[in-house]
Amino acid sequence: MNTACPGKKSVDEYIVEIVSDAGEGAQKAGQIFGAVSAKMGNGVWTVEIIPAEIKPPARSPAGASGIRVRVGADAITNMGDEANLVVAFNEQVLFGRIANGAYSPGTIILLENKWRNDPDKEIVQQYLNAVEGFTEQGFIVHELAMEEACMAITPTPAVGKNMFVLGILCHLLNRDLDKAAHEIQAIFKRKGEATVALNEQLVRAGCEFAATQLTFNFDIQPLSNDRSLIVTNGNQALGLGVMASGMELVSMYPITPATSASHYIASVFPSVGGCVHQAEDEIAAIGFAIGASYAGKTACTITSGPGLALKTEFLGLAVMTEIPLVICLVQRGGPSTGLPTKVEQSDLLASLFGATGDTPKIILAAATIEECFHFVVTARKLAEQFRTPVILLTDANLATGVQPYPRPQICEEWLAPPIDQSKWDPSIPAYNWDEKTGLSQRPIPGQEGGEYVVTGLSHTDRSKVAYDPASHQKGCAMRSRKIAVLQSTLKPPEIFGEKTGDLLIIGWGSTKGSIEEAVQRAQKEEIKVSAVHLRFLSPLEPGLKKIFAGFKQLITIEINYTDEIEQPYINEESQRYAQLALLLRARTLMDIDSWSHVFGQPIQPGAIYREICRRLGNDHSGSGLTDNNSGE
């Protein structure tokens, strides 16, 4: 059954939001909407809007809780720019979103109108003022009696309203109601048939309500796709990846936004024979993981900024002792406790240089949700092959973004074979460094003849403590060499666009979707811009200088802090660079600028597009918003 009505407009993509007070179920409605869209074959990106407090007060701008769903005919790689339509359960929650630049003139607001008749005069006034203000700002406001309509179906509309809204959206975007019903069954079946039936009824009611109350309606052609897909957020992908990598132990301490990955793993790990250890603190968490890894069971620890800070000393030990280990770092805003729920890409330099002394290690960054899965598998493999800790960087944007992607094919080889317990030839040292590559194989406890003592002190190839110049220099060289060897096996990154041009944008991590969308838009307008996205940060992928040489201007786009050159006291000598820019400048000696913000938000493609235009002197920018209030 399809509720499509005549007079529909066909669009390539559409962005909807549902915002409410916390606990009103907006997120569930949006998730189902996203799942249905994905199952219809559309590209989808879902991202939750999370309030700062556990239970913020009702009707407060800071309390906005909700979800954004971007649906497209093509694959969707990011949350997009301003939303096309928002359903709001009260008017207050819209203020925070507006301040964050979530909407632009023309955005449709479907607003619960019960506040108009609230017994509290103050609320009525707030409501009226808001509606007036929204209209003035160019938003198209539809005041709807949604709760009232629900009341016809359920005595407690507060808990059912979200499904009613789902119905409205299904109508407006011609979603397949059978698919929605299917989702509802899956989610609510544990609560009994009555609940399922009620929710289905609400959805259908919402659909009909929209058909009668609203005159517009959009159609999005689905992507034709015959591969089987899964839909997850980045933290679930990480969790699935951990399990598929064959690692049997996740040793962690809770910290937002990393924790939900561990929650997910904890809920399914026993089924694959794994164990989540919640340690007493982050130091113990990494120490425990190192212990297990040393004993042959390469382990994983998952954390965010403040947790990484505490793991610094052990990270240095793992490098020094060449113990394989996977560290998943789900970045959030910093410094210090910073912005716990918000995105930032500002732990790159801390990952690289945080530990004291020389600590070469492998650092990867996932650029998509799908990569969150595959890179964990890669990370484990690299950790073992190169006998070193590997840091996998993701961030709050990937962690909470939801997207369909090809279902991974589990490989038996990913699941490691049982650990080697055969005899070790005692004449082979514990660090039997290949002089050329620094690589070596390690004895695992249980291997007769391999007995050696791991130490964080400077040591010889037999792991004997040694303070002489030659041993220390040798050890440092061997550990560093491995990184060069890995680099020699990598390919140069692919260029998105032409090999030469006026501007090259260099990115890493979760900004890929937005950057490429913006670049593509500019390319369509014959602007000579290309992009390149780095997955390896240590070592860097090879061939960068050559790629860079093809462009007149080079900038990195990153979600971390850089001084802006126009600000007081900031000049060529004092400017502090964005993090990847600093690395690339040192590496290539090319004048790599950066464009970065710390707004706690994903960078929107529109903002990048405008920056491209600004840099190249074409003001194609269609939006009247300035960067400062558009919240990229």
């Binding site: 040793s251 089924s271 694959v272 212990g291 004993a295 069971k297 406890p445 007995e451 003592v453």
Partner: protein, 317 residues
């Protein structure tokens, strides 16, 4: 093999381990350091228990005492200051087949490692923790440790340590799930041996505080106790540490103590003169965190793959 029963198999030459099989690098502690006798005793226990060196891991933090693993010929992990226990617990988590001995110092365990100490007691994973308590920071040259006696002059407190020392036994006994608490001294080798052997035999986390002489920096701390055996109170019980009568006879002060009585253990732990030595507390039935961490260890690959596919199905569209 050849369809023979396993115990008929010709493949497994019997291995017998001698003390040399446990002897690593020459111990570089000062002459007269209590470390030497603990090392000898642990090597003897390994020999007497015929622990395969490859199945034995000696874990430590940083400090004089934490040099221990280097002096063993087993696997070893000389870790970070204060962090021996997380490493040891991690090793044990997915390798319950390994024998784990942990060496720590009074600074390593009770100061920088205090949080891990409390939590490792609670985890109750099967290993022996030996705290070499010389009441001083040895390796870094004579700073105050939590067990340094109040008033003792050290390099960081030249006018004397300002606070009463911590009592490691009462803290340990205060942690729920504690399962084995003993105290011994480095200079009574038979007692040390019997205590560590009993600790090793306990299936759970054995906390053993070893009063350890450091002639270099805390020469006087245990002098009196060593000279005058009546400053020690030997705890005796059928469930306690078993000693030869000849050895027992050397202790003028003896005390019958049932190690399953925690309240009495606490009272004893509070006695500082004479110092109780022996088994203060023992609960063989305390649950072990290993029962949780080892789950799934034996799961076959096909079952894992099936479960992984189920997990993916959950997200399939």
């Amino acid at each position: 093999m050849f369809g023979l029963k396993e115990d008929w198999s010709l493949d497994a030459p019997p291995r017998y381990f001698t003390l040399e099989d446990y002897t690593g690098n020459e111990a570089r502690w000062c002459p007269g350091c209590g470390g030497h006798s603990v090392l000898g005793v642990v090597q003897r226990i390994c020999r007497d228990k015929q622990l395969p060196p490859e199945k034995t891991v000696s874990v430590s933090g940083i400090g004089c005492s934490s040099r221990f693993p280097h002096y063993m010929a087993t696997y070893g992990f000389h870790g970070l200051h204060g962090r021996a226990l997380p490493i040891a617990c991690g090793i044990k988590s997915r390798r319950p087949d390994l024998n784990v001995w942990v060496s720590s110092g009074d600074g390593d365990c009770f100061s920088i490692g205090a949080g891990h100490w409390v939590h490792a007691i609670r985890y109750n994973m099967d290993m022996v923790l030996m705290v070499f308590d010389n009441a001083i920071y040895g390796l870094t040259k004579a700073q105050t440790s939590p067990t340094t006696h109040q008033g003792t002059k050290t390099n960081t407190h030249p006018l004397g340590a300002p606070l009463p020392s911590i009592n490691p036994l009462t803290v340990t006994l205060g942690v729920s799930n504690v399962s084995f608490v003993a105290q011994t001294v480095d200079w009574n080798v038979p007692h040390l041996y019997a205590t560590l052997k009993t600790a090793y035999e306990h299936k759970g986390f054995s906390f053993v505080r070893i009063l350890q002489r450091c002639p270099q920096f805390s020469e006087h701390t245990y002098e009196e106790y060593k000279k005058d055996a009546s400053r020690l109170k030997l705890l005796k019980h059928e469930k306690g540490i078993q000693l030869d009568d000849k050895i027992t006879a050397r202790f003028p002060v003896q005390h019958e103590h049932d190690p399953s009585d925690k309240a009495k253990a606490l009272t004893l732990a509070n006695d500082l003169d004479p110092i109780p030595i022996g088994l203060l507390y023992w609960d063989p039935d305390a649950p072990s965190y290993s029962d949780f961490t080892r789950l799934g260890l034996e799961m076959p690959v096909d079952k894992k793959i099936a479960a992984l596919n189920d997990a993916l199905d959950h997200f399939a569209i």
